[in-house]
Symmetry: C2
Subunit: 802 residues, 2 copies
């Protein structure tokens, strides 16, 4: 018997599969194999808990606090940080085979196979394991976090002796305060993460148990409960017990060769900042009762139905690059997992797939993730915006503390309070508030959800408009300037008149004025009068946008074009990302761009630039963008496609889509990059589809790169589900269900209806593609090689089925 060689992810259109056991790869596969519904997240750890990269069970919004240290403090610096907590782990099911614990580091795995199924919404595993003394079992597991029952996760666990009768002992745990390794060098954060939970209640009886804990400092309370269904031919001995940090069901059974033991584990989670121990306990026990009634099959069926509905609205088909096809669906699946059932909690930068960024949410949510959700599962976009709204008081308080009006949303946070300890890249990055306003505007435009506008949207728009009105000023020439802010590019900071920020602020101001006029009662409630409305419009009309007529280029911020060039030629490629090898002061004062900033303005505020300006600006910034951030490739794909560099757009799209699967930034172990996954959608839909939504009417400008044969994508707009198919010379539009829809095709107004209609794609000659800094161009995709790769290597059919 030989170990199977691990070969990395296999290519398949609707699933992510990894065959063979590779202990070193566990951390990153755990992130990719995470299952989540936006409320509960379970990293893809093995059921037996070890070997492992990093255990992780997360509840959206559940965090611990810790002091933020400053060697030199300053007024308005946040004093408390927040860190996502690894909560009580219910994924653990350990197995003893005749007294030998199943551990993939010992004995031999003759087969080992893990599959994340994008349509079924489950992670399944098949392992054939031979113990060190040669006893062989097959273990099949499948787990899900339910999209339909928000508090519920479930695991089916099945063991078969392969060669002989075996005594099996299974231990199914709820384990709190798992010891974990932490990357942090800050002893306060490490302390906060070390045993963060204080036991408050535990109970076990029959096959079920519950644990209730509270965090030490943040005072949040959580409950985890489990119940089990055990199926086996013969009689079993089962015992359950609980203690403060552990509840364990132990099942011992003799299983004959050919027989099997099957355990279905139902898990329920709940947390609250306010509810009592009995209330929270009741909540998870009730959820468990519901799940048991639905049963495993029921949960599987509901899950599939939920996903069928999602794919019907969101799927993107890519012909000609199977790996990209898989990656784009992987992206859409994980975006759904991050956002589906967040329900007024944040969508974190890593979703619920890992502890990266301390579990904080950033502008990534509104600027990258929400455009996807808005057009695919708009209720999730609405819920994410409701989370922002729920933090409004904190944002108003923060604005007040900073001497501003309106609402200043945090750069990074879990509960809505600013947690950024480095203000030049935190507080100064005020654009996050305009990004939120833009997401509101996009959502309203895409759904016509008047109730949301009245209850949440107008307030979000007007309070952010107030921020801009107080943050900027009219200078002595009447121009409205916004000075001393940080734009999206984190290799510049605290500069005047960042073009992206000013354009987004202008949109914010105008949108707020319009929304206030649509909802005068709301405006009146918040004290907006016509003087204030006029001041917003005046600021918007006078918004200053620096431009260099000599170069014919927009400076990212004022003065940027006068700065020294980075010495790209002499920068060691091993010294990327630059921020780990060069000081901020040097990055900030040179023409080096970490991530799309002016180029993001070209995308999101494209109506403010002529096509010629876009081409010149894009070429200028391409030569200076090092893409040390995962928030860039998608945007560069979009603008490259618009200005006609389709090959380059294709390379950028692939990079965005494969960022996590290829571990481009070498940090997937800490979680997936939600914004980069969203960038895959952006690259396909806004890039090759040319989707733009800044005019109110949806606009498309489809184009196909030479390497692909076809791209088809689906969207939802104002209740209409429709499809766009891009072929070499033409695009085909049709409504899948709902009313006909007016859109633009390459600037021409067309009506999309149930009957597919074809429109020609105009040629574009963009000339020579722009150059990137040496070594920083995206990897060129070799289409011939890709086509070979299309033949899946050794397909495995033995996927677990009930």
């Amino acid at each position: 018997m030989t170990e199977e060689e691990p070969r990395g992810y296999e290519c398949s259109p609707w699933e992510l599969r990894w065959r063979g056991m590779d202990v070193d790869a566990l951390q990153r596969t755990e992130s990719a194999f995470a299952v989540s519904n936006g409320h509960i997240g379970l990293r893809g750890t093995l059921e037996e808990a070890e070997p492992r990269g990093l255990p992780g069970t997360y509840l959206n919004g559940f965090y611990e606090q810790h002091e933020l240290p400053y060697a030199e403090a300053g007024y308005g610096y946040p004093e408390e940080g927040q860190t996502v907590v690894n909560v009580t782990d219910g994924k653990i099911i350990r197995l003893l085979v005749e007294d030998e614990p199943l551990d993939m580091r010992y004995g031999a795995a003759t087969a080992h196979d893990r599959v994340l199924d994008f349509r079924k919404g489950t992670l399944s595993r098949t392992t054939e394991w031979s113990s060190p003394t040669g006893r062989r079992v097959r273990v099949r597991t499948e787990r899900l976090v339910s999209f339909t029952q928000r508090a519920i996760a479930a695991i089916r666990y099945e063991v078969e002796p392969l060669d002989e009768d075996l005594q099996l002992v299974v231990q199914s745990d709820l384990l709190a305060n798992e010891p974990i390794e932490s990357d942090t060098s800050d002893p306060r954060v490490a302390a906060a993460l070390n045993s963060p939970l204080v036991g408050e209640f535990h109970r076990a009886s029959d096959y079920n148990a519950v644990l209730v804990h509270q965090t030490r400092r943040s005072g949040l309370r959580m409950a985890a409960a489990m119940d089990h269904k055990i199926e086996v031919d013969d009689g079993i001995r089962a015992r359950i017990h609980s203690e403060e940090d552990l509840a364990r069901l132990t099942v011992a059974v003799d299983v004959p060769k050919g027989g099997r033991l099957r355990i279905t584990k139902f898990l329920a989670y709940g947390w609250s900042a306010q509810r009592s121990v009995p209330a929270l306990r009741s909540q998870v026990e009730a959820a468990l009762a519901g799940a048991r009634q639905t049963g495993w099959k029921g949960l599987i069926t509901e899950q599939r139905a939920f996903l069928d509905d999602y794919w019907a609205t969101s799927d993107i088909e890519i012909d000609g690059d199977p790996e990209l096809q898989q990656a784009v669906r992987f992206a859409l699946f994980h975006l759904l997992q991050a956002g589906a059932r967040g329900e007024s909690r944040a969508i974190a930068g890593k979703g619920l797939t890992g502890p990266g960024y301390d579990g904080h949410a950033f502008w990534d949510t509104e600027s990258f993730v929400l455009p996807v959700l808005t057009y695919t599962i708009p209720d999730a976009a609405r819920d994410a915006l409701r989370w922002r709204h729920s933090t409004m008081d904190k944002a108003r308080e923060r604005a007040h503390q900073l001497g501003l009006r309106g609402a200043a949303f945090p750069w990074r946070s879990i509960n809505g309070a600013e947690c950024s300890a480095y203000w030049p890249a935190g507080t100064a990055a005020f654009h996050v508030s305009a990004d939120i306003a833009d997401a509101v505007l996009r959502y309203l435009n895409a759904t016509g959800d008047e109730e949301f506008e009245r209850d949440y949207g107008t307030e979000l728009l007007l309070e952010t408009a107030r921020l801009w009105a107080s943050l900027g000023h009219h200078d002595r020439h009447g121009d409205f300037r916004i000075d001393g802010v940080t734009g999206p590019d984190e290799y510049s900071a605290v500069a005047d008149n960042n073009v992206y920020t000013n354009l987004m602020a202008r949109r914010n101001l105008l949108a707020a004025a319009e929304s206030c006029e649509r909802h005068p009662d709301v405006a009146a409630h918040f004290g907006v009068d016509t003087v204030e409305l006029d001041s917003w419009r005046a600021a918007a009309a006078a918004m200053y946008l620096p431009y260099d007529p000599e170069l014919g280029v927009h400076p990212q911020s004022e003065g940027f074009l006068d700065h020294d060039e980075w010495d790209y030629e002499n920068t060691d490629l091993a010294h990327y990302p630059l921020l780990l090898h060069f000081p901020y002061f040097d990055l900030y004062r040179k023409q080096v761009v970490k991530q799309a900033d002016l180029v993001l303005a070209l995308h999101l505020c494209g109506d403010s630039f002529s096509p010629e300006e876009k081409a010149r600006d894009f070429a200028y910034y391409e030569a200076r963008t090092v893409r040390d951030s995962s928030l860039s490739a998608g945007t560069q794909a979009v603008v490259a496609a618009e200005v006609g560099h389709l090959d380059l757009a294709y390379d950028y799209l692939a990079e965005a889509a494969l960022t996590d699967l290829h571990d481009v930034h070498n940090n997937v172990r800490n979680g997936l990059h939600m914004a980069s996954l969203a960038g895959a959608w952006q690259g396909a839909v806004a890039g090759f589809g040319g989707l733009r939504d800044h005019g109110g009417t949806l606009a498309f400008a489809p184009r196909l790169p030479a390497q692909l044969d076809r791209i088809t994508f689906r969207l939802m707009f104002r209740g209409t589900r429709f499809q766009v198919e891009i072929d070499r010379d033409q695009a085909t539009y049709h409504v899948l269900d709902g009313d006909p829809l007016e859109v633009l095709h390459h600037g021409e107004r067309i009506t999309v209806a149930a009957e597919p209609q074809r429109f020609a794609i105009p040629k574009i000659d963009a000339g020579e593609p722009p150059v990137q800094p040496p070594g920083r161009a995206p990897m060129r995709r070799d289409s011939e090689k890709l086509r070979q790769y299309a033949e899946p290597a050794n397909p495995i059919s033995e996927v677990y089925s009930d």
Copy 2:
């Protein structure tokens, strides 16, 4: 018997006196009454150690290290901080009067009087104290830190029973690891300061003892030793003992009424990063032996002679404002104390008067303190520059770490390594390196010290020039720009082309080129070739200096004039200093100036501005300078005087001179502000004297404000000691000793010789004085009131005399 009422400092031309006991005022008087020689500093605590504000015994350069914490770290952030240590306290002499400890909080002080004598160089005290049970003694003490014997301090302690025979017990201590209260909220700094010293050796015999300690982390070793001479009519019982942190001589004696006990305590201190325990012990014991041989009277005589020589070169007489007269001499005395015997150690921002700024040295030294020392005690200026030179390797290393060439001197440090944990106001404030170069240039010009230039000066100039050449760049129009730096004004940061920085860098580049040509061997040793020299000159010639022709004003940095105005009208006066009530981001992006920046350029680089530009620039920045820093009033005095606003200059001079005596910034408890004390000299000599030295030839432009009758000051230049007397309509110059000297008087070339010569002072009509932000004008000095104040209130003649 009634307690004497404390009345604050009394006005007297050559001393600082405080009468009466005021426990609450102890902290600030301890700073003002500190005695120091630049190597050893003793705060003015009472001999009996309590009550006290803050004990403080400092050795220049002796510090403890601690980790600098960052909630979000960055490349190049300093990892270790340094903090001045309160070393073994030898000032303590406790007294028991018939078993009752002398404690000024109990019993009654019928007389209490402390005097810092600027000519004698001692702090003396006379206390008549009645114990709670009515026993009365007179205690007279006097202490000095010797200017002539660098390692030595001495205290004379005398007790007389006033009404009856008394048993007296005196305990004279060396006490290490005194518990002190710390302002810091950082537990790491607090930990570093709590018992920082580890005992290594102690010994006591006869009347002498020695303690040797080492710091825990920085590994510096120090020794303190004491010896005593006891004079009493009758027999004594004396006992000495030592333990790790304490050595104590106990003297018990019966003193009859009319008799007295007199103890002379000699103290010696030494420290080293390298010397062993026996070596350091020998060093202090040898120093003690020398001091004992010199004896108390000898030390007093040497001290007086040293000071006579100093005053002969440095004294400033001010007729018409006795309080200002006193304050200016107080300033000159403390500047001497900070710099006299530093000998290749830093001159800290607080000198050795308190633990403020962690004992760090800043640009304050070169830009404010050294100009005074250069013209009054040039050897001290030389030694301070040698300290900078001794840190050259650290500065080169820092430049290399930052990706720059040459030497980047630290923003704040004790040992030469950067300790600033906030880079926008630390690392980015590169001007410190040009300030050092300017101080070198000034010293060379004032002394013609060719040996210093060859051994230290050229290297300092060329390595700082290299910094500028690598920090700036020629833009596409050929201009040489220095982007992303912080100028002197700490309410702006990380801006492009700070005018002060660019002008100082230009001077640095040119001076380095000239010095390298004078010393081609040195230049060759450091690899400077003609290509590099040419590049420095090219950078200097193309140095970009932003100017706004519309306003006729220089922006402090590029873009400054377009920024929003601060809302001074609506800023609560209780919200100054602004940095405690407003976030940096808001201060940075508005036209609010903490301290002279462009105005400092008007002073130090006045040859780059026309008189009209100076007047307009000064008026513009006056309206926007809030003077939240003690580094501003002196400079504002200088430029106000130059542009002809003499009343305003007078007010600013008074503010600078009285900053510490009036505790303007409410933090004198942490130490005196050396730069502000230097500002007093600047205001008088560069302000009303009009001294400028940027052209090589000394220039004067004397003018007297209406409130004063006369100002006379003395200077040393190239070995010539001379005097300038400013009267209402004329100025009188004459050489005190040395060769005749060519200088400029209001632009006219004159020769100063032994024979006093008078020159008319041209009239100036500056028009209306500029306005300051509401509530931020300097306090107007009421000259009538001042003349009344000239009569000293209840002069005390009972000063201790030997």
